[in-house]
Symmetry: D2
C-alpha cells in the first residue's frame, strides 16, 4: 500500500468536504481541483445529521452516496449526530505521492476489514482479537511503530434484533477499542480481559469506534507517522480525562501553532460520564428519556472543541467505551506543516 | 431596600445550592450555616432538569418548592434544561449587611414585579415599556448607574392556548430583553421600535429573559455595583458574538483571577444562530424535529462555559432573543474579592 | 376496612376528575358535591402528561398535590404519559356505605403497602413474594374470592443509579405483576419461576404495575366484587392478546351496555410487542431512538380504547411485562348498574 | 393514459409491499410474480420509518430507491412516520389491462405534476389553483366524474430556509388540499378563499397531502371509478370528524365485507385537533415539546385504524389541514371484488 505510482512512498492526504445533506457528495469536485486523486481514496470519515442512534439511516445514505461517487471501493465510516454547533461534513482520506520538499515523518494511512463478526462474537474477546489482528497487520504492512499511531477509527457492526440495540452498539464499540489498544500495546492481555469484563479504566488513547447496521465486519482505518515518508501532513493526539479537560487540547493546538502548522481537522470521542457525575457534580444525560445520552455528549463536547479550534466541521462521535477513560476520550488533530 | 437592619446599606450575597431533583431545597441548610439569612432572600435563580420548553413542569415544581422553603416571598426564576454537562442547581440571591472591611463598589440586588402583562400585550411595545419602567424604578430606588448594572434577569409569561407556544415564548423574551436594554440606555426609542419589529441586531448586553407559564407579569431581578456600598462581591459581564466566541469570556475569567477573585457563578444565554450557520458553516439545530433548538444550544454553550470555568453548575438559559447579538449572548460572572 | 361508619359494609366509589396540569386538584370539589367523602378516599390513580419514563417528575408532582389535597393519607398511583388522544385525569377511589337499594356483589376496594423493596430485591423473587403476600392479605381481609378480583394496580420502585434505569423499571413491573398473578392463583410456583426467568407467556390478567422514583415499597390497590356487599358499581375485565385485539373489549362494552350499565372508567396496560412484530408485520417502536417504545405503545392503544369507548380520559399505562401476554395487556372496565 | 396495449382501457392495480428499511425494494419481485408489470407503474405511495418532520431523510431515501428499482419514471409519495403499531410499506399503483370478467365501474388511476411552485407561491392561492388545474386535467383526461373520485394524494414542496419549516409544511399541505377540493367542486371559490384565510371548516373529503423537501412542484395521483372500465378493484371513502369517529369507518368496512370484497389497503390522514381538545377533553399533543404533534396523531389514529381493519401496514399520514374537518380526516379503502 505504500509504494506509489511514481515509485516513492505514498503519504496521506486529508480533504474536508462540507455537505448540505447526508447524500451530498458535490464537494468532491472542489477537492479534486485541489489535487485529490479520487482513484486513490482509502476512506471517507464523516458526520451526518441523523440521531446517531439505532434508527439513523443517514449513515447508510452517506456511505452509499460516497461509495457511488468514488471510482474505487473505500471504507466509509459515517457517524451520526451533529448536535449543537457541529456541522455535517466528510473527510476524504487518500494517498498521494510523497513529496521530498517536505521533511520525513509524514502521515500515512492504511485500511482493512476484519473477518465477519458473527452475532455471537459481537462484543466478545474474539471480536477484540479480530480487530487487534487486523491492526497489527496494518502496522506491519506499513511499517509504522506503535507509538507513531495517532488515530485508528473502526466501523463495527451492531445487532438490531432480540434485545437492547443500544447495549449491542456499546458492546461492539468496546470490543473494537480494546482490540486497538491491545494491538498497539496500550494494554496487555490481562487488561484486555479486564476491559472486556467491564473495567472502564482500561482504554485506548487513539481508538475511535462507531457502530452501524451497514457493516457485518469491522472496517479499520489507521493514521500514523512513517519515519521515511516525506510529506506535509502530521497528526497529534491527546486524551481528555473528562469533557471539561481542555488543557491537553489547548496545549496540542498551541504546539501546532508554534510549529507554524495549520489545523486541518479534529477527530474526537464523547460520552456521558457513566457515574452520572462530572467532577463531583450531577449531570442528567443518563436519566433523560427524551434525548439519548450520546446526543447530549456530542453536543457538549462538540461545543467545547469547536470553541477551542474555531471550527464546527469536526468529527465528534458518541459512545467512547474504552476510548479514553470513562467520561473522557481521545482527540486527534490532523495538521499541515508550513510550506 | 438598601438600608439594612444594622443601619448600613445592604449588599448582595450569592449562594449556589446543588439540587438532587427539581423540588430539592435541602441544600438551603448548608447555605444558612454559611451565613445566609433566609428572611432576607430576594430571589432564587435556578436551572432545573426539564426540557425547558412548553411542557416543562419542573420549573413550576422548583419555584413552588423554594417559595415554600423560604420564610419570605421571593422572586423565583427557574429555567429548564440542563443538557450536556450542565448540573441542576439554584442560586439564592439575598441581602446582607454591608461590611466595611471590604472596599466600596459592592454588588447589590433589587427586585420587583411589573404589572400584569395581558395576553394582547405579550411581546408588544407595552410589554417592553412595562419592563423598562420597572427596571428604571429599580435603578432609581437603589442608586445604581446604568453602566454599573451587570445582570438583569426577567421571568416573563407565555401563552399556551391558541397558536404556537414556542413563538409566544420567544416574543415574550424578546420584549423583555428590549425593555431592559431601553431602561439602561443600551438602545434608544428608535432601536426599540426596530427590535420589536424583528431587527436581531438590537440587543442588551446584560438582560437574561426566561418565559414560563408560572407568571402573568414580569418578575425582574437586577444586580449591579453601588459606589458607596462595601462588600466582597463583584460582577463582570461580556457579550459573546456567537457560541464559539470564547475570547471575551477567557479575558473576563483571567481578569478576575488576576484580581485575586474567586468565581462564584456564571449566568449566560444561549441560542441557535437564526441564520442556520455559525461562521459560515451550516448547523442543524433549527431543522432537528426531535430536539428543540434551545436544547441543542444550551448543551453546546453549556459545554463551552463549563470547560472554560471548570464548573458545570452554571446558569445557561436558552432563547437569547435580543440578549446579545443573534446567535450570541451575554455572560455575567459573579465573583468574590480576596479576603 | 369493610365495616363502614353506619355499621354496614363499605363499597367502592369511583370518581374521575379531569385535570388541567399535573398539580391540579381543583376538580375534587365537584366530586365532593357529587357525594365523595374525601376522608374515605383509599387511592388516587391517575395519568399525568410527562413522558412516563425515567425523568418524569409530573408523577411526583401529582402524587404530592393529591396527598396534600386530601385529609387522609392515600395511595397515589400516578402513571406518566398521555400520548395521542389520551387526556390527563385522576380517578379517586374511595369507600362509601353500602346501599341496599342495589343488588349484592358490589365493587369493593382494599389497599396496602408491602415492606420496603431493597435495591437488591428489586425485580427478584423476594419482590414478587412481597407483592403476593400483600395481595393475599388484602383478599383475606376483604373476603373477595380470587376470581372476583378484577383489577390490582401496583406502584413499584425503580433504581436510578448504576445502570440502565429503563431495565430497572421493567424488572420492577415484571416482579410486581407476577406477584399479583401468584397471589390470585393465575400462575403456580413453577410458572412464577419461569416468569421471573423471562418467560413472557406467564402473566396476570388483572395486574397493572407502574414504576416510579416516588416509592421504595410497593403500593397496592385491589378492586373486586364482594358477594355480600350491596352497591351500584361493578368491574369487568378482559385480556387483549395484542394491541389490535379489540373483540374482547367490544364484547365487554356491549355486555355492559346490554346490562343497562354506564361505563365509568377503563384501566389498561400497553406495550410494544417485544418481538418487533404484530401479527407478522414489523413495527418500529423498539428501534426508535427518539421516542421511547412505551410512549408509542400508549399512544396507539390509547387511540384504540378511546375510539371504542368514546372517552379519552382513560388510564392507559405503559410497560406491560407479565400483564397480559407479550404485546397485549389487561383491560378493566368500571361501570355502574342502572338506577 | 387509458387505452392499454391490448386496445381496451387501463384499470388500476394496487400491490402492497412490506419493507424492511427505507431503501428496501426487494418486495417488488413478489409483486411482479403476482402480475405487476413494472413498466406500467404510475406511482408508489409509502410510509417510511423516519420522524415524518423536517429532518426526515427516509422519505428521500425511499423515493430514490423506488425510482431506481422501476424501469419507468413514477410519482413517489413517501410519508414519514410509522409511530405506534404502524408498519413501513409501499403501495405500488400501476395500470393493467381491463378485464371483462369483472363488472364496469373499475378503479382507474391518473397522475401528473403541477408546474413548479415558487417559494412565494407556497401555500398561496396560486399554489391551490395550480393543484386544482392539474386535478381537473386528470379528471378530464380520464373521464372520471367528480363524485367518482375517492382519493387524491398530493406530494407538495416545503421551505427549509428562513423561518418556521413546520409552518411551511402545513401551509403547503393546506393549499394542496384546498386545490383538490376546489377541482372536485367540494368547495366553491368563496370557500377556497376562506380556507386559504385559515377557516378550518373548509375541507376536502378525498385529498391527502404530504410535504417534503424532495419536490419543487406538486405531484398528484388520483384514484377513482370509471363507469366503462371493467376490473376487480374498487375504492370507498369516508370522513372521520375526529380521531374517535370510528362509526363511518366501521360501516365502510362492513359494507365492503357485505359485498364479498377483500380490503387491500387504507389511506388516511391524522392530525392533533387544533383546539387542543377532543370531544371536550384536553389533549396534550400540541404542548409536548419532546414529540411533534404529527407523530402523536399518527400513532393514535394508526392504532385505531389498524385495530378496526386488522392490518398495520396502512397509510396514515400526519398533518390533515383542510383534509377532513379540523381534528378529523378522510379515510379511503381500496378493495377487491369477489372473484
Amino acid at each position: 500500500m505504500h509504494v506509489g505510482p511514481a515509485g516513492g512512498m505514498n503519504v496521506a492526504s486529508v480533504h474536508r468536504i462540507i455537505t448540505t445533506d447526508p447524500a451530498d457528495t458535490s464537494g468532491l469536485l472542489d477537492a479534486v481541483e485541489q489535487g485529490l486523486d479520487p482513484s486513490r481514496v482509502i476512506a471517507v470519515v464523516g458526520k451526518t445529521e441523523g440521531n446517531g442512534c439505532v434508527n439513523d439511516f443517514t449513515r447508510g445514505m452517506a456511505a452509499t452516496a460516497w461509495q457511488a461517487a468514488l471510482p474505487v471501493p473505500v471504507i466509509a465510516v459515517m457517524s451520526g449526530g451533529t448536535e449543537g454547533v457541529l456541522s455535517p461534513h466528510v473527510t476524504v482520506i487518500a494517498e498521494e505521492d510523497e513529496d521530498d520538499r517536505h521533511p520525513a515523518g509524514a502521515l500515512v494511512v492504511a485500511a482493512a476489514r476484519t473477518m465477519t463478526i458473527a452475532a455471537d462474537m459481537l462484543g466478545q474477546r474474539a471480536h477484540a482479537e479480530a480487530v487487534a489482528s487486523t491492526v497489527r497487520q496494518l502496522r506491519a504492512s506499513t511499517g509504522i511503530g506503535t507509538e507513531d499511531v495517532h488515530f485508528v477509527v473502526v466501523k463495527c457492526p451492531l445487532r438490531t434484533l432480540g434485545g437492547d440495540t443500544y447495549t449491542s452498539m456499546a458492546a461492539s464499540r468496546a470490543a473494537s477499542a480494546l482490540g486497538v489498544a491491545r494491538a498497539l500495546d496500550e494494554i496487555d492481555d490481562d487488561e484486555l480481559a479486564r476491559g472486556l469484563a467491564g473495567d472502564t479504566d482500561v482504554h485506548s488513547g487513539v481508538a475511535s469506534a462507531s457502530a452501524g447496521v451497514e457493516v457485518d465486519c469491522c472496517e479499520i482505518v489507521l493514521l500514523g507517522h512513517h519515519p521515511d515518508a516525506h510529506g506535509p501532513l502530521r497528526a497529534s493526539h491527546v486524551v481528555m480525562r473528562d469533557a471539561l479537560d481542555i488543557h491537553p487540547v489547548q496545549r496540542m493546538l498551541t504546539d501546532i501553532e508554534a510549529a507554524g502548522g495549520r489545523l486541518l481537522h479534529l477527530f474526537a470521542k464523547a460520552e456521558a460520564d457513566p457515574t452520572s457525575t462530572i467532577r463531583g457534580r450531577r449531570h442528567t444525560m443518563l436519566t433523560d428519556s427524551d434525548i439519548h445520552s450520546t446526543r447530549h455528549a456530542r453536543a457538549a463536547l462538540g461545543g467545547v472543541l469547536a470553541a477551542l479550534s474555531g471550527e464546527t466541521a469536526i468529527y465528534v462521535s458518541g459512545g467512547a467505551e474504552h476510548q479514553g477513560p470513562a467520561g473522557g476520550g481521545p482527540v486527534t488533530a490532523i495538521w499541515r506543516l508550513p510550506d
